[in-house]
Symmetry: C2
């Protein structure tokens, strides 16, 4: 091999990250070796600091540097509205719309019979307790509209049916800007079944 | 913002690397926070160690961990054959062919009249001295076949014409596996001018 051991070592580590292939990893190392030692040290420190200081919010499960995440600390948000998502990346997707002003509950997973993940593993009782104590008036279930996400949603809806809270599910249908021609049959079936009235 | 400061900080640093956009950077941070603290520490250490320990080979300018690079240390290679390239990435491209068994000379640049880079800035006298003292019998000029690469090649050829050494230039022409139809006029012109005899 014509490159130093440290080069190969770093390239292998970068190449194991998602979305970075061996060629891109080599290019990254070429680029990084061209930067100042100070900049490289800052990148290394940022990596270690992020891993050391970021934990899960004790209330909602989002990323947080302290006990509570930025969203739970934001007093301008509606504490009576709760959106249940599978992962933090789903929370991130909803935040990007800019239209949701309630709080979240991140499950960090979904009911998955094949992987033997049940309601206990997801801590769904913690969700029920939170709704009882935090004065929540509506729970929006935003688990993914696929098999596991749907059964998770159904289980949560049943669990919460005894509590005095409105339970809703995000709408499924044809994505905005797409074309009917390219929609799969399941999506199109849902879109037909869940059709809404149009004001004349 | 709904994410901790450390998340945003690390994502910004990763997003400033070539080939990694803001979305890919966020995805990388999500992935990295899912890894063990040990793995993150190892990645950070690999970054710092690579930058600290990798320097340029004192003989040829390739990356090296000690004084000499892996190629200059390889006694099985032909020390009388020298390939001149602009950058280490060009050396890497040639090494990947597996057919070249000589040594290299990396210019770390090219003659560039607009950027005011001349023969002095490239240390071309160092190249001439090396040829005198190392017993080099052939120099293959593998600078890029574009304006700056060509004038660099011409300058080197003139500089070395006084020395007792064969000077060659890598061939230009239609890339193997491509189609004439899509070749640009300059490449096709070169391919016609530099046509070779075919054995009947």
């Amino acid at each position: 091999m014509f490159l130093p051991r440290r080069f190969i070592e770093l390239s292998a580590k970068l190449g194991s990250l998602p979305g970075i292939g061996p060629k891109a990893a080599d290019r990254l190392v070429f680029y990084l070796l061209d930067q100042s030692e100070e900049d490289i040290r800052a990148l290394a420190d940022a990596l270690v600091a992020a891993k050391r200081e970021i934990h899960f919010c004790t209330r909602c499960g989002n990323f947080a540097q302290g006990n509570l995440c930025e969203i739970c600390q934001d007093l301008s948000r509606d504490g009576g509205l709760l959106c249940v998502v599978e992962e933090i990346r789903d929370l991130a997707a909803i935040e990007k719309t800019g239209v949701y002003r309630g709080l979240y509950h991140v499950l960090h997973g979904r009911i998955d019979p094949i992987a033997r993940v049940g309601p206990e593993e997801l801590g769904l009782n913690r969700l029920a307790n939170r709704i009882r104590t935090d004065g929540v008036h509506e729970v929006i279930i935003a688990t993914n509209p696929n098999f596991n996400g749907d059964i998770t949603a159904m289980y949560i809806a049943k669990l919460l049916s005894e509590l005095n809270v409105r339970v809703t599910r995000i709408a499924t249908g044809i994505p905005k800007g797409s074309e009917l021609e390219f929609a799969d049959v399941f999506t199109l079936t849902q879109a037909l079944e869940k059709r809404t009235d149009v004001q004349g």
